[in-house]
Every structure is written in C-alpha cells, then in structure tokens.
C-alpha cells in the first residue's frame, strides 16, 4: 500500500466509526483526538478494524503510534508494504 492508500484507509475506518466526521482542514501532524470526536474506545475500534481488514496485530504499547494521521502512515507503511 502507498502512503496515500494508508491515509485513505485510516480515514475510511474513522468514517465508519463516525459517519459525521469532518475531514476538511484535518492537520496530519496534530493528534486525531484533538481534531475529531474520537476517544479511547474509538482508537480500539481502529485497532480492531486494522486487525480485521489487514490481519495486523498491534501491541498495546504501540498504540501511541496511531496518534496522528502522519504517525499512522509512518507506523503502518512497513507493515502494509506488501498488501
């Protein structure tokens, strides 16, 4: 997957969690939680969806890697390079 594909994947998962989520003006370097209506349970939903869609097992200690859109892409890029 390309970096753009991964970005789209994350946004697609968030849109599934919250259909009303507004992505216009989203800063890729700022925490998603500060910009969208997301809480810890939603982050667990993101982790679960990555597991379901791409068989990714993300260890709990690595959850902070999913804080911003760019950190998500950086973290997931090597894991999804062959998908």
């Amino acid at each position: 997957m390309t970096r753009d594909d991964i970005k789209d994947l994350i946004l697609d998962i968030i849109a599934d969690i919250d259909e009303d989520a507004e992505f216009a003006g989203l800063d890729s370097d700022k925490p998603l939680r500060d910009q969208l209506d997301l809480d810890s349970m939603d982050f667990l939903d993101i982790v679960m969806e990555l597991r379901k869609r791409h068989k990714l097992q993300i260890p709990e200690e690595e959850y902070p890697e999913l804080a911003t859109l760019n950190s998500c892409v950086n973290y997931l890029e090597p894991k999804l390079k062959d998908q």
Partner: protein, 468 residues
C-alpha cells in the same frame, strides 16, 4: 400578638377530609349491599382503614404521570399510537432472522438521530437507542427543562426482560467469520451487555447524575420499573423518576427460536393477523421491539409547576407463582390483581378498563381469563382489551407501552379494541371484551394493567383519572 393558627387549621381540614372519606365509603357500602356486593376476605377494619388512608394520601405521596415518550411498532409518539390503536390496524411485519428465516415481528421506526449522533447509536445498543429516544420524548412531553428538578435528584429505572442476548449473538456470529478467534471479539461487548446499559445510555445523553439501573422482571419488567419509580418518589430518594421499559429482542434469533421450540411462536401467512389473543385460532406470541418511558412526579410538585397530568398511579402489586419456569398460574395472577386493588383502596367494579397481558398462547390466555373471572365476577361496567393484538409482545416494554396506549382514554373515553378476534375461544369468553371495534364510553375512571412474565412473576398497575 396574633397566634399562628395554620397548624390547627390544617388539622381541622385533615379531620374534615377524613370524616368525609368515611361518609363517602359508608355511602358506597350502603349502595353496594342491595346489589349483591359483599366484601370478601379482604373485608374488615384494616381494609376500610386502608381505603380511607388511600383516599387521603398527602400530595407528596400521590404519584402522577406527567410525560410519555414511546416507540412502538406502529408509532413513535403517543398521539399517533392512540390513533392507530383506535383504528385497529396492525403493522406487524415479517422479518428475516439469522439461521431461522422469516417470522412475524414488530419493528419500530423512529427518528434515531433526533437526540444523539449516529456514532453514539453505533457504539451503544439498540435498547440504548430506544431508551434515549423515549426518555427525551418523555421529558419534552412533560415540559421539564431541569430548572425544576436537579439532575442529581432524577432517577432512571428501565425495565428489561433480558439484555445482552442481541449483542452476544452478534459477536459470536462475528468471530465465526474469523474462525472463532477471540482476538476479534469486540471491546464494546461488556459496556453494551451490562444490565444497566439502556438506563446508563439515558443518563449519559441527558446528563442525569442521579441513580440509574435496570429492573429485570421478564415480561413484567415495564410495570416493575414503573413501580420502582413510584416507590423511589414516595421514599424521597428522587424528585423525578424517568421510568419505563425497553426491548430490542427482535435482533435475537435465539429468543424467536426458543419460543418456537416451546411451541409458542405465532405463525400466520399474514403477519398483521399473527397476534390474536383470545381467538380460537391463536398459535403463539408475536415478538416485538419497543420502548416507553414515563416521567413520574409527586403531585404537589407537578401541580406547582402546572404540569399536564395523564393519570395518577393508584395501586400496584408484584407477586410470584413459585411453581414453574414458563407456565402461568391464574390464582397468583388473581391475587396480584386483588392486592393492587386493595392498595389502591378500590373495588373491582371501579376499574373501567383492563389491559390484559394475554400474549396469544393457548394456556396463557386461558389462565388470565380464569383470574379475571374471579376478580371481576360482577363488574358490568368494566371493559377488557388487549394491546398485543396490535403491536405484538414488546417484552420488557410491553407493560408500559400497553398502559400508554390506554392512558388517553381518560380524555377521549374510548376503549381501543382487541383485534384479530374472529372466533372467541369459549374458554376466554369474558363479558365486555372490546373486540375489533373501539368502544365509546361515558366516562373512564381507572385502568388496570396486567403484565406477567416467565419464571412466575406477575405485576399489576392501576392508574386512575387525576382528580383535584
């Protein structure tokens, strides 16, 4: 210095009311004897004292219904619901169930995002979604903006037949797609399936910080939660009770399959005719989802804020059969009705409408009719209807939803009918069953609402017309 005589004056007024209650009751006794009324085993000084006490309850012990919010399989507000019930048209449909195929069911259509976002509905449960909608609607209907009542003095009591079955079935189905690997089991499972989930979702949505919990009482749960609300208000635990019943059970194939295995699931080629209590050709229960929440207040406060009053909760009772997991028992049902009447300080003939619990099962309907025959043996002005014939059996919501359907009768003096009653079962042939057509009366004074449930629980709530 002028003395304060307000205490003495109150005492005199109380004495006067007490005296008048005795005169009224004696007058009734005198009138009753020539017509064959003889007090039964509940007669005696204690009973008459209770009658007098009930007739003179202080206003802070008199509990009134001031708001109704509901979602039924045929309507999403009381006005539409009443019109549909009077018109006597069922909107039961056929739904496709996982593993089972089609079955008749009652499904609610309401504005699910009127009071919270789609995201919250997705995170919560269907029961929570129904509860939140009904609770907001009740508050709105009651005209409460929480300037009158503290949110910390508001209690939320939600009656449930069961909870968590739908969510558990869905999750097991979900992990079946992942070779039953529990890594795919959702973290939402526990907060969704705890028994206080629907009541808790209400508190989160309305910011209520008073107590909230579920009242589990099988299909008597709606009535039981209403009773809980009355008791908490009388105990001064809360100032406003938001209480009722909810059911999301159409999402569970297991509930349908269990009734089917028991030979108690209704079948009919036309789903609108599947729910037919008292009819000779009835063959079981139509399962429905639904919700109904009430605002209950103490009369003094309700009057002070100029609230609209639907009716006053006059009496209630809950008892147990103590004998069988599923079979109902008419003697305990009769005792439950008698206890509720006694607590209300009322005679059976003072009840205008009986909303029966009858679900359309062969034995259940007959047992209730036996109980009604005993308690209402000589009540020519008491009419009987059944709301499940229209909306199916809404389980935990049944009692409160059915009561709500009857409440407008205090103002329109109509009794909505029992529909689908084409051939009355001789074993259910009670006088004054209002069949297929609504009936206009001169006056409706009191409604007795029956709700019985599995493992032998019976509940009765009596609501009377509010009189100043």
């Amino acid at each position: 210095m002028v003395g304060d005589f307000s205490g003495l004056w109150s005492l005199l007024v109380l004495q006067g009311r007490f005296f008048w209650a005795i005169v009224t009751r004696l007058k009734e006794i005198t009138l009753c004897f020539p017509f064959g009324f003889l007090p039964g085993k509940e007669s005696g000084f204690r009973t008459w004292t209770l009658y007098i006490y009930m007739a003179n309850l202080p206003e802070n012990q008199r509990i009134v219904i001031t708001g109704v919010g509901l979602a039924a399989p045929n309507a999403a507000n009381l006005h539409d619901y009443r019109q549909k019930l009077l018109a006597g048209k069922s909107e039961i449909t056929a739904i496709d169930l996982r593993y089972m195929g089609e079955a008749p069911a009652g499904v609610c259509t309401f504005d699910e995002t009127k009071y919270r976002k789609k995201k919250e509905n997705k995170r919560g449960t269907r029961a929570g979604c129904l509860s939140v909608y009904c609770a907001h609607e009740a508050i709105l209907d009651a005209g409460i903006d929480f300037s009158e009542y503290g949110k910390d003095r508001t209690g939320v009591y939600v009656g449930l037949t069961e909870h968590g079955t739908v969510e558990t079935e869905n999750e097991v189905y979900n992990i079946s797609k992942f070779d039953y690997n529990v890594d795919y089991w959702t973290h939402h499972h526990n907060p969704r399936t705890v028994l206080n989930n629907p009541a808790g979702e209400v508190t989160m949505s309305l910011g209520i910080t008073g107590p909230h919990y579920a009242v589990g009482a099988a299909c008597a749960a709606g009535n039981a939660a209403l009773i809980q609300g009355v008791q908490m208000l009388r105990l001064d635990e809360v100032d406003l009770a938001l209480c009722g019943g909810i059911s999301e059970c159409v999402g569970s194939f297991g509930i349908f399959a269990s009734f089917k295995a028991q030979g108690a699931l209704a079948e009919h080629e036309d789903p609108t005719k599947a729910s037919r209590p008292f009819d000779r050709d009835r063959n079981g229960i139509v399962i429905s989802e639904g919700g109904c929440m009430y605002t209950l207040e103490r009369l003094d406060k309700a009057k002070e804020r100029g609230a609209k009053i639907y009716g006053e909760i006059a009496g209630y009772a809950i008892n147990s059969d103590a004998r069988d997991f599923v079979l109902p028992f008419w003697e305990r049902q009769a005792e439950c009705m008698e206890l509720a009447l006694k607590r209300a300080g009322m005679q059976p003939r003072e009840i205008t409408i009986i909303n029966t619990h009858a679900t359309g099962t062969r034995q259940g309907d007959v047992e209730e009719c036996k109980a009604l025959r005993r308690v209402f043996a000589d009540c020519p002005h008491t009419y009987i209807n059944n709301t499940k014939s229209h909306i199916g059996h809404a389980m935990g919501a049944a009692g409160v939803l059915e009561l709500a359907g009857n409440l407008p009768s205090f103002t329109d003096n109509m009794v909505h009918p029992t529909i689908n009653l084409d051939n009355l079962d001789p074993d259910c042939a009670l006088p004054n069953i209002v069949a297929n057509q609504a009936k206009q009366l001169d006056n409706v004074e009191a409604i007795l609402n029956n709700s019985f449930g599995m493992v032998g629980i019976n509940s009765v709530v009596i609501v009377k017309k509010y009189k100043r």
